[in-house]
Symmetry: C2
Subunit: 202 residues, 2 copies
DNA sequence: GTAGACTGCTCTACACTGTAGACTGAGGCC
DNA sequence: GGCCTCAGTCTACAGTGTAGAGCAGTCTAC
């Protein structure tokens, strides 16, 4: 069986996504997917060569959900629309977010999206030679932010506690009242505003 | 056995790190660590409550290797020193990098490092209320960049190939000659320069 | 000097994982 | 009828994390 079947691929990916959403990435086993599809685990191997390929396809499907911003808008509005879209996506499927940073996404959907980002940066006046780099900078930050959020890298052990604990943390003490934000939307928005200043200094 | 032993923890972490470096994160099993330490798998559970705790400790050890920049330097030099240090660390232990983004790091070493970053940002004139956010922005980018690098998110399927393939990728075609950089050090340096402009607009 | 507690470890076992390999039964085509 | 392909099953293997019981040696108290 060298050639893979495609007929039921979408159905399988639906099942996988549902499991990840409901019970987390750890619960996403071939057996679990198979059971949900109503089939034997080994039947999945007719549609995906192995689990990694299934996960790759899942990333593709995920990025496919990312809708590009209306091309009529300004470059800044388009960039921010994609950034917020990515973050909303991350909140909708938190368990799958870590996959985004670990698997290169080369599905047609994803590439088309990158093209739109390139165009926005070109429109913003970024020199051609810098456009791909700045796109990577932005997407790296956005994905990193999303991963950090869903993994609790930001929220776990609020800095406020740290400030109280350590005697030799002068900066923490000085910043005590600002350490633990409660509005991550606002933080993300502020970060985006800062990053836009990189693209076109005001 | 509620209380954990600490005597051989460093030895165990050494073994775990060596395995990850030599054979990758997937090979980092409790059995493999135990064998390397010269002990039965279950003996490890006297030192770490479970595998997750062992991995957390590994992250702590990793961040402990990050040396803070010389406090005599300018805020910019200090920030960049930590950023480059983090990236070097990532290249030294690629398999462990993904852990950095997924586990909140609250070891004393790590917190002390964050304190130094806070201080650098304060010295740079960032308003107190913004300092923790900007620190998160920077660290998120640096870690995200490192993760992307070691996971091949950047390099896999060079953009040049994409540019040739798609007919409806105008920006890709225009940028064809700039899509695939070969000097990631330079890219990282340029990114850092851009980010420094966020902190103190020139 | 001996009883008992504590320490550090081993052994066995269980429920799970991804997946290779061989097989079965149904449908279409000559 | 004979044959081929397809879709799926069944069995099996080597590996995983870890619960629970048990065992030899050392330290302490009487």
């Amino acid at each position: 069986m060298r050639k893979l079947k495609t007929s039921r691929q979408p159905e399988i990916l639906d099942a996988a996504m549902a499991i990840a959403d409901e019970r987390g990435l750890d619960a996403l086993s071939m057996r679990a997917v198979a059971e949900r599809v109503g089939v034997t685990p080994m039947a999945l191997y007719g549609y995906f060569r192995n689990k990694d390929e299934l996960l790759d396809a899942l990333v593709g499907r995920l990025l496919g959900e990312l809708t590009p911003g209306d091309p009529g808008r300004t470059w800044q509005e388009r960039l921010e629309a994609v950034a917020w879209g990515a973050r909303r996506l991350a909140h909708r499927h938190p368990a799958l977010v870590p996959l985004l940073l670990s698997r290169p996404s080369v599905t047609p959907d994803a590439v088309r999206l990158v093209d739109l980002l390139y165009q926005a940066l070109i429109d913003a006046g970024v020199p051609d030679a810098d456009v791909p780099r700045v796109e990577r900078l932005l997407s790296t930050f956005v994905l990193g932010f999303a991963v950090s959020e869903v993994n609790g890298r930001f929220t776990d052990d609020s800095g406020a506690a740290r400030a109280r604990r350590g005697a030799d943390l002068p900066a923490h003490r000085r910043l005590a009242e600002h350490l633990a934000p409660d509005d991550w939307d606002a933080e993300f928005a502020a970060d985006l505003t800062d990053l836009m200043r990189i693209i076109r200094p005001v």
